[in-house]
C-alpha cells in the first residue's frame, strides 16, 4: 500500500536530524521532534488558560513560524493544537472550568470525580481517552483520506443541519430536572446564540442599539461564568470546602486507572466513530463531545449514575472530542475547509507558507502532508507521556487552600473572558453569567442544555436557513436525498427515544431512578 510507504517517509521527515541554528548555537538534532515537545507543552499551557484557546494560541504563534520550513512550522503549530486538546480537560476536572468549549461535557463527571478525591483517576482517564480518540482518527486519516474527503463533499447545508439536529437530539431529554425548566434553559441557550449580527442577512438583531451587544454572547464567556464563577459562589455558600484535599497522589494512579479502562472498549469505539464523523462533516469537537456523552449516558448500564462521577462520563466526551479534533484536519488538508476554528488558523498558515490545501496537496506536497500525519502519531505519543507524568502534579493543585486558589482562578477567568474577544464587556458578562449559574444551580435549571444550545444554536440556525434559501423555502429539502433523510430520521429516533424512555420510567415509578 502506497500509504504505508508515504507514512514511513513521513516518519523519516519528522525524525530526521538537521543542522539548525538555535539561538546562535549550531546544533545537530532532530529539530522536528524538539518542536513537537515545545508545541505540546505550549499547547497544554494554552489549553489550561481559559479563553486563550487553541485557535488563539496558534494564531498568536503563527507569525513566529514564518522563518521555518513549512513542515517544521506545521508540526509546531499542530502540536500546540494537540496540546491544547489535552490541556482543556485539566481545568474542567479540577475546577469545573472548561478550558476549551469541547471540554464542557468533561466537567459533568470529571469535576464530581475530583470532588470525591478521584482527580488523578479522572485526569488519567481523560488523557488516555484523548489519546485513543486521536489515534483512531489519525489511523483513519492515513488509510481513508481520499474516501473521507469525497464523503465530506456530500454535506451541503441541509445535511449539516441534520447533523446538528442529531447531535442535539442525542443529548436532550437526559436531565433529571423538571421538564419545563430544562426546556427554558435550552431555549435561553438558543436565544442567547442569536444576539448580534445575523450572518444570513448581515443585519443586526437583539442589539437594542447597544454597541456592546454587537458581537453577541460568546459561548466561552457563558461557560466560564456559569461553570467556573458559579462553582466558586456555590463553594463559598457551602463554606469553603474543596473536597479533593486528601487525594492519594502518586504515579500508581495512572496504572490503577488503566486497569479499569479496557472494560469500556465499546464506549471507546462508539465515541471514536462519533468523533470522526463529526470532525469530518464538519460539525466539530464540541457537538461531538456532547453527542458522545449523551449516547453513552443512554446506553450505559451505569447511565443513571452519570453526573455523579462516573468514569465513563469522562471517557465518552474526551474520546469523541479528540477524534473530532484530529479528523477535522482532514477536510482542511484535502478540501481547504477548516473543521474547527483552530484548523481555520492553520489553514491561513498553510496559505502563507505557499501551500495550497486541497485535493492536490497530497500529491504535490506529499512530504509535507505525510510529515504532518507522522507528527500526529508521534505528537500524540509524546503528548500522552508528557501529560500523564503531570497527573500527580496537577492533582496536587487541589491541595492548595481555597483562599489562595480561588482568587487565582478568578483572575484566570477574567483574563480568559477578556482574551476571547478583547472586550471588557465580556468580563462583566462573565460575572453576570456566574450569578446566573449560581441561581440556576440552586433552582434546578440544568446548565448543560443551555450551553449546548448556545454552541449549536447559531450554526444550526444558519444551516437551516441556508438550506431553506436554497430550496426556495421548502422543508422537503431536509428529506431530499438518502443521506440527509437518514440523519434526520436518526435524529428523530434519538429525540423520541428520550421521551419514550422518560415516559416508561415514569410509569415504572420515578423514585428509584434518582437514587443513584
Amino acid at each position: 500500500m502506497a500509504e504505508f510507504a508515504n507514512l514511513f517517509n513521513g516518519f523519516a521527515t519528522v525524525l530526521a536530524f538537521q543542522d539548525v541554528n538555535i539561538f546562535g548555537t549550531q546544533m545537530y538534532l532532530p529539530f522536528n521532534v524538539f518542536l513537537m515537545v515545545v508545541g505540546i507543552v505550549l499547547g497544554v499551557i494554552i489549553g489550561v488558560l481559559p479563553g486563550l484557546g487553541g485557535a488563539n494560541g496558534v494564531a498568536i504563534l503563527l507569525p513566529l513560524t514564518f522563518s521555518m520550513q513549512p513542515t517544521s512550522a506545521v508540526i509546531l503549530l499542530s502540536c500546540i493544537y494537540w496540546g491544547a486538546l489535552f490541556g482543556g480537560a485539566i481545568t474542567s476536572i479540577l475546577f469545573n472550568i472548561p478550558g476549551e468549549p469541547w471540554s464542557v461535557a468533561t466537567t459533568f463527571d470529571g469535576y464530581p470525580m475530583a470532588q470525591q478525591g478521584r482527580a488523578g483517576e479522572a485526569l488519567t482517564a481523560a488523557f488516555t481517552s484523548s489519546f485513543i480518540g486521536a489515534f483512531f482518527a489519525v489511523i483513519m486519516i492515513t488509510l481513508l483520506a481520499p474516501m473521507v474527503a469525497a464523503f465530506a463533499l456530500r454535506f451541503g447545508a441541509a445535511e449539516k443541519f441534520a447533523v446538528y439536529f442529531l447531535a442535539f437530539a442525542s443529548f436532550v431529554g437526559l436531565s433529571k430536572e423538571p421538564p419545563f425548566k430544562t426546556l427554558a434553559a435550552m431555549v435561553i441557550g438558543f436565544a442567547l446564540a442569536t444576539f448580534g449580527t445575523d450572518h444570513m442577512t448581515g443585519s443586526l438583531r437583539l442589539t437594542f442599539g447597544s454597541q456592546y451587544l454587537l458581537p453577541g454572547f460568546d459561548f466561552l464567556i457563558a461557560v466560564i461564568g456559569l461553570f467556573g464563577i458559579g462553582e466558586i459562589l456555590l463553594t463559598m455558600e457551602e463554606g469553603l470546602k474543596f473536597k479533593g484535599k486528601d487525594a492519594k497522589i502518586n504515579l500508581r494512579v495512572v496504572l490503577d486507572t488503566w486497569k479499569k479502562l479496557p472494560a469500556y472498549w465499546w464506549t471507546y469505539l462508539r465515541s471514536c466513530l462519533i468523533g470522526c464523523w463529526m470532525g469530518i462533516t464538519p460539525a466539530g469537537a464540541t457537538p461531538a463531545s456532547f453527542m458522545s456523552y449523551g449516547i453513552a449516558k443512554r446506553v450505559s448500564k451505569n447511565g443513571k449514575n452519570f453526573g455523579n462521577g462516573e468514569i465513563e462520563g469522562v471517557i465518552a466526551p474526551e474520546t469523541a472530542a479528540h477524534a473530532a479534533g484530529k479528523s477535522a484536519l482532514l477536510p482542511m488538508l484535502a478540501l481547504g475547509v477548516p473543521g474547527s476554528p483552530t484548523a481555520a488558523v492553520l489553514l491561513g498558515g498553510l496559505l502563507i507558507w505557499g501551500l495550497q490545501p486541497g485535493p492536490t496537496l497530497f500529491t504535490e506536497n506529499s512530504e509535507f502532508v505525510w510529515g504532518l500525519i507522522a507528527s500526529m502519531y508521534l505528537g500524540n505519543v509524546v503528548g500522552l507521556i508528557i501529560v500523564l507524568t503531570c497527573v500527580p502534579l496537577l492533582a496536587a493543585i487541589l491541595r492548595v487552600p481555597f483562599g489562595i486558589i480561588a482568587p487565582i482562578i478568578l483572575m484566570f477567568c477574567a483574563v480568559g473572558a477578556y482574551t476571547v474577544r478583547n472586550s471588557f464587556f465580556d468580563v462583566i458578562m462573565m460575572l453576570a453569567f456566574g450569578l446566573l449559574g449560581y441561581l440556576f444551580k440552586k433552582t434546578n435549571y440544568p446548565l448543560a442544555p443551555l450551553v449546548l444550545a448556545m454552541v449549536l444554536g447559531d450554526r444550526a440556525e444558519e444551516a437551516f436557513r441556508q438550506a431553506l434559501v436554497g430550496s426556495g423555502g421548502s422543508l422537503g429539502v431536509f428529506f431530499s436525498n438518502g443521506l440527509v433523510s437518514t440523519i434526520m430520521a436518526l435524529g428523530f429516533i434519538a429525540l423520541f427515544w428520550s421521551v419514550i424512555s422518560a415516559g416508561l420510567s415514569r410509569i415504572r415509578g420515578t423514585a428509584p431512578a434518582t437514587a443513584g
Binding site: I45, L52, A191, M200, R205, M411, A414, G434
Partner: protein, 166 residues
C-alpha cells in the same frame, strides 16, 4: 426579602427565589421577542428574516416560564433557599469580584488581580503578610510575562505599566 414570616429568620424562602428567577427569565423572553419583532420575523427576499428564529425561541420561553412560575407559585413556602450566613459568604466574594472587574479598565488587570488575591488571602482566609505579598505579586507578574511577553497578547494595562513602557 421573603414575605414569609417563619422562614425569614434563617434565610429567604426558596419559593421567593424561584419566582424571582422565573420572572427574570420571563423579562428576558419578552426582550427577545421585542428585539425579534424589531428585526422582522417574516419571510424576506433572503428567506426567513433575522428575527424569525429568536421570535420562536422567545415565544417558547414565555410559555415555559409561565409553567415554571405556576409550579414555583405552588411550591413549598417554608423551604429555605440558603441561610443568611451562607448568603453573606456568597456576597463576600461577589462584591470583591464586582469591584475587581470595575477596577480593571482603570488600573489594569495585573494590579487589580494583585489586590484581589491579597484581599482573599487576608480577609477570606488569614495568611501572613509575607506569604500574601509573595503570592499576590508573584502570580500577576508571572501572568504578565506569559501573556505580554511570550504570547504577545495585550491585556488591559494601567498607568503603572504605561510608566514602565508597555
Amino acid at each position: 426579602m421573603s414575605g414569609d414570616g417563619n422562614a425569614a429568620d434563617q434565610g429567604p424562602a426558596h419559593r421567593t427565589i424561584e419566582l424571582a428567577v422565573a420572572a427574570g427569565i420571563g423579562i428576558f423572553a419578552i426582550l427577545v421577542v421585542y428585539g425579534a419583532l424589531q428585526a422582522g420575523i417574516g419571510w424576506g427576499f433572503e428567506g426567513p428574516k433575522a428575527g424569525f428564529f429568536p421570535f420562536i425561541m422567545g415565544t417558547i420561553l414565555i410559555g415555559a416560564t409561565a409553567m415554571n412560575l405556576w409550579h414555583a407559585f405552588q411550591g413549598s413556602r417554608t423551604k429555605v433557599f440558603a441561610d443568611w450566613g451562607a448568603l453573606k459568604q456568597v456576597g463576600a466574594v461577589t462584591i470583591p469580584i464586582a469591584v475587581y472587574i470595575v477596577l480593571i479598565p482603570f488600573i489594569g488587570i495585573y494590579i487589580s488581580s494583585a489586590i484581589l488575591i491579597a484581599y482573599f488571602m487576608q480577609r477570606i482566609s488569614s495568611y501572613g503578610v509575607v506569604r500574601t505579598a509573595l503570592v499576590s505579586i508573584g502570580v500577576p507578574l508571572v501572568t504578565f510575562f506569559v501573556f505580554e511577553r511570550w504570547f504577545l497578547v495585550a491585556l488591559p494595562k494601567g498607568p503603572l505599566e504605561a510608566m514602565l513602557g508597555y
